[in-house]
C-alpha cells in the first residue's frame, strides 16, 4: 500500500489553516481582479452597505485613531475582496469626532440623518462612546464600539450599542490577578490616573487580587494634570512586592524615567497595562527601566515565535511589521493591543448582516438580534486576536488576554489567560429592552 494519498482521499482530508489562508488569498486576489459588476452580481442591489466610522483623527485619541483607520480600511478591503456583505460592497464613511463627546454625538447624527449609514462603528474613547450612545439609541442606529470600556456591559447604554470585537476593562483586569498573585507577588501598590479609567483599574483589580489572597497596600491616584511624579513615590510602602501602573498619555515617559531614578536597580516587580505605551516605541530613550517588567497586551505587539497564521495574515494586511510598527515607517508604532477590535468588529457585522439577511436600514433591528444570538467566535481570519465568546445579553465579547515581559527591549509573551478567566456575572440584559 502506497503512502501517497489518492485524489479521493485528498478531497475528504481536512484542510489545514495554511491551506485555508492560501485559498482565501487566491480567492481574494481573483475577486479583486473582477470588475465591480461581476463581484456583486449576486446581490439584489449593488448599493453599498454604509458603515459610519467614528474616528478619533484629532484630539487626544489621534494616535489610536490613525491605526483604527488603517485597520478598518484593511478589513473593509478584505471583506470587499471576498464579495462584500450579502453580495454588496462595504463603504466606510469616516468622520472625525475630535475625541470629543459632544462632537461624537453630532457625528452619530450625521451618520444616521445625512449619510444614511446602516451602522455606526469604531469609537474608542469611553467618554465619546458614552456621549454618543444615547443619540445612537434614539436614532435606532446600531452602534458597534471598539472601546474596551465597561460601559456597555455595565448596562449604562442601550440595546443599539454593542461591543463584539474587543474585551472590556473589567474582564481584562480581573484576568490579570491570578498571574500577578502567582508569579509576581501578593502585596501590590497601584499607581493610576485619578479619572474614570484609573478608577476602573483600582476597583476591579483590588477586588480581583483579594480574591487571589493578595492585597493592595496603597492606592496612589495621580491627578491628570500632573507632569512630575517623584513626590508620589515615597508613598509606595516598603513591603510592596508589585507595582501595578496604568499611567496614560505623554506623561508616561516621565513617569517611567522618574520611577527608574527612584528605585534604581533594587525595584519590586512591575506590572502595567500597555495602554500606557500604545503607539510608543518600547526602546525609546528613558524607557530602559521597563526591561524585565510585565505588561498586559490585548494582542501581542511583537510577532511571537508561535505566532498564529491568522495574526500573520492580519499583520500583513494592515501593514504592520514583526515589531508592531508600520512596514513603511519603523518609527510609526501601532496600537496593536487594541486595533484588532476594528477588524474583528467589522467581521462580526458581516456575519450578523448575513445571518439576518440584512437588506437596508429597515433591518437594523434584525441585525441587532442576529448579533445578540452569536456566542462562539473561533480563532480565525475574522478573529485573529483569538477565540471569543459573545454574551448577547450584555452586548460584550470575552476573550483571551496576553501578558508579556520586556526582554531585550521587546515584548515577549509569557502567559495567555483562558477565556473563562475573564468572565463575570451579567450586570444587564439588553434583550429585555425594546428595539
Amino acid at each position: 500500500m502506497t503512502t501517497t494519498k489518492t485524489i479521493a482521499e485528498k478531497a475528504v482530508s481536512k484542510p489545514t489553516r495554511r491551506d485555508a489562508l492560501k485559498t482565501l488569498a487566491l480567492g481574494g486576489a481573483a475577486a479583486a481582479s473582477m470588475p465591480l459588476w461581476a463581484r456583486y452580481a449576486g446581490a439584489q442591489t449593488s448599493e453599498p452597505i454604509k458603515v459610519g466610522f467614528q474616528v478619533h483623527r484629532t484630539g487626544i485619541g489621534a494616535a489610536y485613531g490613525r491605526w483604527y483607520d488603517r485597520t478598518t480600511s484593511a478589513a473593509a478591503a478584505l471583506i470587499n475582496e471576498q464579495g462584500g456583505i450579502n453580495g454588496r460592497p462595504l463603504e466606510i464613511i469616516a468622520e472625525d469626532d475630535g475625541t470629543d463627546p459632544k462632537r461624537g454625538a453630532e457625528v452619530v447624527e450625521k451618520f444616521a440623518a445625512k449619510h444614511n449609514c446602516d451602522i455606526g462603528f469604531g469609537t474608542l474613547f469611553s467618554h465619546v462612546v458614552i456621549g454618543s450612545a444615547p443619540r445612537a439609541g434614539e436614532l435606532k442606529l446600531p452602534y458597534f464600539v471598539v472601546s474596551e470600556g465597561h460601559h456597555v456591559a455595565s448596562g449604562m447604554l442601550n440595546r443599539y450599542t454593542l461591543q463584539p470585537g474587543i474585551t472590556d476593562v473589567k474582564s481584562q483586569v480581573q484576568a490579570m490577578a491570578p498571574f500577578v498573585a502567582d508569579n509576581l507577588g501578593k502585596k501590590v501598590t497601584m499607581v493610576f490616573p485619578d479619572f474614570a479609567f484609573g478608577h476602573d483599574h483600582r476597583d476591579y483589580f483590588t477586588a480581583a487580587i483579594e480574591a487571589q489572597g493578595g492585597e493592595v497596600l496603597e492606592h496612589i491616584a495621580i491627578p491628570p494634570t500632573e507632569t512630575s511624579f517623584t513626590k508620589y513615590f515615597p508613598k509606595i510602602p516598603r513591603e510592596t512586592e508589585v507595582i501595578y501602573h496604568v499611567m496614560v498619555g505623554p506623561a508616561v515617559l516621565t513617569f517611567v524615567k522618574e520611577l527608574g531614578e527612584f528605585f534604581g536597580p533594587q525595584r519590586p516587580e512591575i506590572f502595567g497595562f500597555i495602554d500606557s505605551l500604545e503607539a510608543v516605541d518600547i526602546t525609546s530613550p528613558g524607557l530602559e527601566f521597563l526591561e524585565g517588567t510585565y505588561f498586559w497586551e490585548g494582542n501581542p505587539r511583537y510577532a511571537q515565535e508561535n505566532q498564529s497564521e491568522y495574526d500573520a495574515f492580519f499583520r500583513e494586511r494592515v501593514g504592520v511589521d514583526a515589531n508592531g510598527a508600520s512596514v513603511s515607517d519603523p518609527r510609526d508604532v501601532s496600537t496593536y493591543a487594541h486595533m484588532f477590535g476594528c477588524w474583528e468588529t467589522l467581521h462580526v457585522v458581516k456575519a450578523g448582516m448575513e445571518a439576518s439577511g440584512y437588506r437596508g436600514t429597515q433591518d437594523r433591528a434584525a441585525l441587532i438580534e442576529a448579533v445578540e444570538a452569536m456566542t462562539d467566535m473561533p480563532h480565525s481570519i475574522a478573529h485573529p486576536q483569538g477565540a471569543k465568546v459573545f454574551n448577547g445579553k450584555t452586548h460584550q465579547v470575552f476573550g483571551k488576554q496576553y501578558i508579556s515581559k520586556v526582554v531585550d527591549g521587546k515584548l515577549l509573551l509569557v502567559h495567555t489567560t483562558s477565556i473563562e478567566d475573564t468572565f463575570y456575572p451579567d450586570e444587564v440584559d439588553y434583550t429585555t429592552q425594546s428595539l
Binding site: 483623527r57 484629532t58 468622520e95 472625525d96 475630535g98 470629543d100 463627546p101 459632544k102 462632537r103 454625538a105 453630532e106 447624527e109 450625521k110 444616521a112 440623518a113 445625512k114 469611553s126 467618554h127 458614552i130 456621549g131 450612545a133 444615547p134 443619540r135 439609541g137 434614539e138 470600556g149 460601559h151 449604562m156 447604554l157 442601550n158 485619578d194 479619572f195 474614570a196 479609567f197 478608577h199 491627578p223 491628570p224 494634570t225
Partner: protein, 315 residues
C-alpha cells in the same frame, strides 16, 4: 415705542418666528443640528451679557454651563428627581456658583479677572474628576431616555427636542433683550464704556457687575441643564477650558454686545467645523484662519458690522 425699538422688536420677533418655522421644513440632519445650536446659542447669550454688554472677559464660563449640566444630571441620577425639578436645580446651582465666583473674582479686574475665572473653572473641572464615584469623572454618565420626560412629553423625540431647545433659546434671548433694554442693561453698557464715569454718576458698580455675573451664570446654567435633558449626556469635557473658549469665539464671531450675535456666531462656527472637518483633519486651522480674517476685516463680529454699516439701532 420709538421707531428704533419697533424695528428691534420686529427683527428679533422675526428671527424667533423663523426659528419656529424652520422645525417644519429642515431636513432631519439640520433639524437636529439646530436644536443643539439653539441650546449652545443660549449659553453664548449668557456669556455675551457679561462680555459683550458689561465688558468683563471671563475664561471660566464652562464652570457655569457645567453647574447646570451636573446640577440637573446629578439631581436625576443620584436623587431620582424628574426632569422639571432637575432643570430648576441646575439653574439654581449655576446662580449660586455664579454669586460665589462673582463675589470673589470681581475683586480683580482685567487680566486678573480672566485668570481668576479660569482658575475657578479649572477647580470645578478637577472637582468633577475628584468626585468620580458620583460623576463618573471624565467618562461622564448617561441620562436614560425614559427619564428625560417633561410634563409627560419625551424630550428625546425630534420635534419635542427642537421645540424645547427653541423655548429655551426664546427664554434666553428674551431675558437678554429685556435686560439690555432696561435700566440695568444700560448701566452695564455704561460700565463697559467707562467704569469710573458710571461710578462717578452714583451707580454701585460692584453690585451691577455682580448682577451681570449672576444673570450670565444663570443663563449659562440653563443651557447646561437643557443640554443634559435634551441630549442625555453629562460629562467633564463640558467643564474643560475648551468650553470656556467656545462661547467667547461664538460671541466674537457673531458680534459682542448684540442680542443676535451669539446665535449667528454659534451657527457660523458649528457649520464651519461641520463642513471643514469633512475636508481636512486640520479643520481647526480653517476655523482659526476664518477667525483671523473676521477679526481683521470685521472686528466687531458679523452683527457688529451689520450695526456699524446698516442698522445702527441694533441692540
Amino acid at each position: 415705542m420709538t421707531t428704533d425699538l419697533k424695528k428691534s422688536v420686529i427683527l428679533h420677533a422675526g428671527v424667533v418666528l423663523a426659528l419656529f418655522v424652520l422645525q417644519f421644513v429642515l431636513p432631519a440632519y439640520h433639524h437636529g443640528n439646530m436644536a443643539r445650536i439653539m441650546v449652545l446659542a443660549s449659553y453664548a447669550i449668557g456669556y455675551n451679557l457679561l462680555f459683550g454688554y458689561t465688558g468683563l472677559l471671563s475664561l471660566g464660563h464652562a464652570l457655569f454651563f457645567a453647574a447646570g449640566l451636573y446640577g440637573a444630571g446629578l439631581a436625576m441620577s443620584q436623587f431620582g428627581l424628574s426632569a422639571g425639578p432637575a432643570l430648576v436645580i441646575g439653574v439654581v446651582a449655576g446662580v449660586v456658583i455664579g454669586a460665589v465666583v462673582g463675589g470673589l473674582a470681581l475683586r480683580t479686574e482685567g487680566v486678573a479677572f480672566m485668570i481668576v475665572t479660569l482658575m475657578f473653572a479649572q477647580a470645578g473641572y478637577l472637582t468633577i474628576l475628584y468626585f468620580g464615584a458620583y460623576t463618573r469623572g471624565d467618562e461622564g454618565f448617561v441620562i436614560a431616555q425614559t427619564e428625560r420626560v417633561l410634563f409627560g412629553v419625551d424630550l428625546s423625540a425630534p420635534l419635542v427636542r427642537y421645540f424645547a431647545a427653541f423655548s429655551l433659546f426664546c427664554a434666553a434671548i428674551l431675558t437678554c433683550f429685556l435686560a439690555v433694554k432696561s435700566r440695568f442693561g444700560r448701566v452695564l453698557v455704561a460700565i463697559r464704556e467707562n467704569e469710573e464715569r458710571a461710578a462717578m454718576l452714583g451707580y454701585d458698580v460692584a453690585k451691577y457687575k455682580l448682577g451681570a455675573v449672576v444673570l450670565s451664570a444663570g443663563l449659562s446654567a440653563l443651557a447646561g441643564a437643557g443640554y443634559a435633558l435634551l441630549f442625555g449626556y453629562v460629562g467633564a469635557s463640558f467643564a474643560s477650558v475648551q468650553y470656556s473658549i467656545f462661547p467667547l469665539l461664538w460671541v466674537l464671531l457673531g458680534g459682542a454686545g448684540t442680542v443676535l450675535g451669539p446665535l449667528v456666531g454659534t451657527v457660523f462656527m458649528f457649520y464651519l467645523i461641520d463642513l471643514s472637518s469633512g475636508l481636512t483633519t486640520a479643520y481647526m486651522l480653517i476655523a482659526g484662519l476664518v477667525l483671523v480674517v473676521l477679526t481683521v476685516f470685521a472686528p466687531q463680529g458679523v452683527m457688529g458690522e451689520v450695526r456699524r454699516r446698516m442698522w445702527r439701532w441694533l441692540p
